[in-house]
Amino acid sequence: MLIPHPLLGLRDSQEFTYLGDANLMHRPDATAENAEAQFCDYVFQRENPAGVHRELWFHEQGDRSWLVVTRDTTTHEILGAELASNVKLGAAE
């Protein structure tokens, strides 16, 4: 596969390490009342869609950026990629 790195362009997916669902960026608040339930959901439960999936790839053999890649799990077609830190900071704003 080729990952369309937002800075570096198309790169061999072998340079990357795959983590999984991009929801892993949304770590729950440990002080919340139902924190344990939220963490269980966060750590273990997955949408696992057959279709468009936002997922985390780490450019380990590249610029070491974490990317949020949007990919169709039924065709492997990639619809976009963003820097995870941008996504996270954007979401926080």
Partner: protein, 981 residues
């Protein structure tokens, strides 16, 4: 000899070869199959199941029958298709899958027993008596099955890999492919033109069609010359594009030296990963046959192959000159073979055309509305039965060409599971419109097999492909060509009561398909699996469509309703060696060497693989006869004097930034924020699921600068996890991370005399306990000005330091420490002694931090701070984790000199040993020279409360068990006085 005139062989370059030990001659340009036919050899192999005598059927990579073991010794290569094996001088080949000589195969008895071996018979028998399947039936089947054999010797050749990138990849260099290449090449695009053959031209080499009124090969030669002159075009012959992967990536194998007797300095093959922006699939088409009674005899072959042998290789398929050749066809294409054979001077009986309205294109007999209903000739065809309206007559022939129509080579277009589409006009499947993105089929592969239409289609495909990537290409002047007549009837097989083969190699007949139908194995995948149809080395290239047609007839459905099969890579067989190319021996994976590696080597150290690293395991001295002697000496030297160990392999991450402390506080379960500059703290990391992950140290070098260490095994993973936390969880924190594992050579200086030794090399640095206490760290200089870092940390329980210098000085530092410490008994030690020292001290390592354990289990439960959040903290408090009662404890065998084997399970004395009574297990064990006893660590249920209890350490795997006493894991200096003094 049955050579004809003409052809694309070099008659001035004769080549010697042997087949089954007999010497023959062929020519440069021959394949093994054409050379054998040229020598009148029809019988080339045996079928898989019935061991029927078989000859060559095809002229290309789809060949199901003519398979040989090529070469000898370690280069022996089973299942090589004679049709694609280029002849070279000295080639040796043997037929395979027979017992006794090829013409008298003992296993041909299977053919007589064939009624018992009908489709699916294996599944219905061999069940009684129960033990006989494995003891008798299966070994017999295994021995009889298989095709060729491996030499069982390591492959001696080298293999290479590489990466290519292009605008346009063209698969196939026939009429369509060449037209596409010229179009794209002239447009300036980066083009790769790949073909599995050793010459360009594709089917043009095998046909007699003229281009621009001249020999088509003249045009091919000029096209080749032009393409070779273009710097933007790369021509790759002997290169099979075998698979289509995601995003325009193709797997291709270039057979660099398979056409040579030995590769010499070259690699045998190269695996290319080609990244193409667009692709033109011009892979041509494969002819299919028409099943009829006894249609598998040597001498019966595809009519198109017969034409190729006549035109390209100038051989006639008959054993003896003068034997007649017949053609059996359901369309016009068979007639072309008759015409070409006649033109080359072969004797043609006539064309048996299943169509009533059969045409005639030349001076030969046409048997209209007729079929072939039988054959004779055990080892080679001698006669055929021709039947018209129930009236039959036998004709003497030496060969029969069968023309059942052409199947576009849709394989690559289907590798992404796009199903090919049935075309009623062509009576064939054509590539799916939703095939791989960016791949455009052209020419015969797209169902446009006429020479003129293939040329035009190839050109247009290239223009379309390039326009999609913004490259303008213009139409080119194509040579004038014709489309030969290609009318065809939907005639799929000749009905009858005798066996008519559909899949030659696997011996699947029309009857087998009928039986599968009867037994409700109707879905095409069930049919395949029940009968093994299409599972042979040709992957059904010559059989699948005929089989579908037969099944369609039986079910009363159309062929597309009956289905097709999924095509999967590889297109043709690819050697396992090239896919696994590169180093297979000691350099199979890179080796990381520590900065003192060469020094340790010079000391005669034994090394051990630790992940990517090679580490010194122990340093034997003269007179030591066992590794235990060496390790005991090293351990005692450390505890009584001073030992030196290269610990560079521990991961090091430089953490800087205003929020570095806060960041580490969130990464580690214990408090890290309140550390002081110049101090080190032991840290425990959890995974987010609450389990223990890694341990290490954090040294605070400045307010905004920490140096973190990790275990050797987890160095890369922890660094990745820190980047994840930094970028994905808390990008708002001001933190910069970078690995420095390789930059610093780090040497542990351990033992009561370590301070004294270090005093001798530091540049006036105060090492006193007051100035540099336990868990202190500092930058300093040593050996007259070399910058270094010093950490007072200990994993052995002794007074100990780790000193780091730029890696290039590690070697010299170790030498210097050895020199300066000679009178102190300075002793280098390896990973074995390191393990003993940490087991004696009760420190957890890989066997305890194995990803399945918790902080509680490790006795580190208090390190998970409740005052803050950190990775894994919340989850570590779940019900099941909190209820965890196993604890890390030590064990001493009651008999001190008996080893407690790591991996033993623990049981209460007198209890039955079952999984439910299991009390825990031994994780690590060693001999402690200090205690003069074997000792061990392990996890035990309620371990903390069971000190002094005697348990059974059971090792039924090796038939052993022994009694052990539960003790504290801290065998040495449990109060920790030594490391603080």
């Amino acid at each position: 000899m049955t050579r004809l005139t003409g052809g694309l062989i070099d008659r001035n370059a004769p080549l010697n070869f042997t087949f089954n030990g007999k010497a023959y001659k062929g020519f440069q340009g021959d394949t093994l199959a054409s050379a054998l036919l040229g020598n009148g050899v029809q019988l080339m192999g045996r079928s898989f199941k019935y061991h029927r005598p078989r000859g060559v059927v095809a002229a290309g990579s789809e060949e199901p029958n003519a398979m040989v073991e090529l070469r000898t010794g370690a280069r022996q290569e089973p299942n090589t298709r004679a049709t694609v094996a280029e002849l070279f001088d000295g080639l040796t080949a043997r037929s395979q899958n027979h017992i006794g000589p090829l013409h008298r195969d003992f296993l041909a008895v299977n053919d007589l027993l064939s009624p018992f071996f009908a489709a699916g018979f294996y599944y219905k028998t061999f069940m009684w008596p129960k033990a006989f399947w494995e003891k008798l039936y299966e070994p017999m089947i295994r021995k009889a099955a298989g095709l060729g054999s491996l030499s069982m010797l390591p492959d001696p050749d080298d293999y290479d890999k590489g990466f290519l990138h292009c605008d346009l990849l063209i698969v196939g260099a026939g009429a369509a492919g060449l037209a596409a290449a010229l179009t794209a090449g002239r447009a300036g695009a980066d083009v790769i033109l790949a073909d599995e053959d050793f010459a360009l031209g594709g089917r043009l080499m095998s046909e007699s069609d003229a281009l621009d009124g001249a020999n088509a090969m003249d045009w091919v030669a000029s096209a080749k010359a032009e393409l070779e002159s273009l710097p933007n075009v790369r021509i790759m012959t002997r290169t099979t594009v075998f698979g289509v992967y995601d995003h325009g990536i193709f797997g291709a194998v270039e057979r660099v030296s398979d056409h040579l007797a030995v590769p010499g300095d070259k690699v045998r093959q190269t695996l290319w990963r080609i990244t193409a922006k667009r692709t033109v699939l011009a892979a041509g088409a494969t002819e299919r046959h028409i099943p009829f009674a006894d249609n598998d005899r040597p001498g019966v072959m595809l009519a198109g192959a017969m034409r190729a042998y006549a035109n390209r290789w100038a051989v006639s398929p008959v054993k003896r000159d003068g034997d007649a050749i017949a053609i059996f066809t359901n369309g016009d294409d068979g007639h072309r073979t008759a015409m070409d054979l006649i033109a080359r001077g072969a004797k043609v009986l006539g064309v048996i055309d299943a169509r009533e309205a059969a045409p005639r294109f030349g001076d030969y007999e046409v048997f209209a509305g007729s079929t072939v209903t039988g054959t004779k000739g055990r080892l080679g065809l001698t006669s055929i039965e021709v039947t018209r309206n129930g009236r039959s007559e036998w004709h003497s022939v030496g060969a029969l060409g069968v023309a059942g129509g052409w199947n576009p080579n849709v394989h690559l277009a289907s590798h992404h599971r796009g199903r090919p589409v049935w075309n009623d006009d062509l009576l064939a499947f054509v590539p799916s419109p939703d095939g791989p993105k960016g791949l455009i089929p052209a020419g015969a592969a797209a169902g446009k097999g006429g020479t003129a239409e293939a040329l035009t289609d190839g050109m247009k495909a290239a223009i379309t492909a390039l326009s999609e990537i913004g490259v303008a290409a213009s139409e080119i002047a194509l040579p004038k060509a014709e489309n030969m007549p290609s009318e065809q009837a939907a005639f799929w097989h000749v009905p009858g009561t005798k066996r008519a083969w559909v899949d030659f190699q696997n011996d699947v007949t029309v009857k087998d398909i009928a039986l599968a139908h009867k037994e409700n194995m109707k879905p095409v995948e069930h049919l395949k699996r029940w009968t093994t149809l299409g599972m042979a080395t040709d992957q059904g290239k010559t059989s699948n469509i005929s089989a579908l047609a037969v099944m369609a007839e039986l079910t009363g459905k159309s062929i597309p309703e009956t289905g097709t099969t999924i095509f999967r890579p590889p297109y043709t067989g690819v050697s396992l060696a090239v896919l696994g190319g590169g180093d297979t021996g000691p350099l199979f994976r890179p080796r990381r060497l520590t900065p003192t590696h060469h020094w340790a080597e010079a000391q005669g150290a034994a090394f051990v693989e630790v992940g990517q690293w090679m580490r010194a395991q122990y340093f034997p001295r003269t007179g030591e006869t066992t590794w235990r002697q060496t390790v005991d000496r090293e351990v005692l030297a450390v505890r009584s004097g001073v030992g030196l160990c290269d610990v560079t392999t521990l991961g090091k991450v430089d953490v800087q930034g205003a929020d570095a402390g806060e960041f580490l506080n969130r990464m580690y379960s214990n408090m890290m924020g309140a550390l002081k500059v110049g101090m080190v703290r032991y840290g425990l990391m959890l995974r987010e699921d609450g389990h223990a992950y890694d341990d290490g140290t954090c040294a605070q070098m400045a307010e905004d600068h920490y140096v973190v260490t990790t275990t050797t095994a987890n160095a890369g993973l922890v660094y990745r996890q820190m980047e994840f936390a930094h970028q994905c969880l808390w990008p708002e924190l001001d933190v910069q991370l970078i690995s420095t594992t390789d930059a610093w050579a780090q040497i542990a200086v351990v033992g009561p005399k370590s301070r004294e030794l270090l005093t001798r090399i530091v540049d006036g640095f105060d090492l006193s306990n007051e100035a540099f206490p336990f868990m202190a760290c500092s930058e300093l200089t040593i050996c007259n000005g070399l910058r270094a870092r010093l950490f007072r940390i200990s994993f052995s329980g002794e007074l100990a330091y780790e000193i780091a210098v730029p890696a290039r000085y590690g070697h010299a530092l170790m030498q210097r420490l050895m020199e300066q410490g000679a009178d102190l008994g300075a002793t280098p030690y390896g990973t074995e002694a390191l393990a003993v020292l940490r087991i004696e001290k009760g420190h957890a390592a890989g066997a305890e931090l194995n990803g399945q354990t918790t902080a509680q289990m490790l006795g580190l439960g208090k390190m998970v701070s409740a005052k803050k959040d950190s990775i894994g903290a919340v989850m570590s408090r779940r019900e099941g984790m909190a209820a965890e009662k196993r604890r890390l404890v030590g064990f001493k065998p009651l008999e001190a000199q008996t080893q407690v084997m790591a991996g033993s399970h623990l049981f209460t004395q007198g209890e039955a040993q079952t999984m439910t009574s299991d009390q825990g297990w031994v994780t690590s064990s060693c001999y402690s020279p200090h205690l003069e006893s074997y000792i061990a660590l392990g996890f035990l249920k309620n371990g903390a409360e069971r000190m002094g209890e005697v348990l059974i350490a059971a090792n039924p795997l090796e038939g052993k068990e022994l009694k052990v006493e539960v003790v504290s894991a801290h065998f040495v200096d449990p109060e920790g006085g030594r490391l603080r003094d």
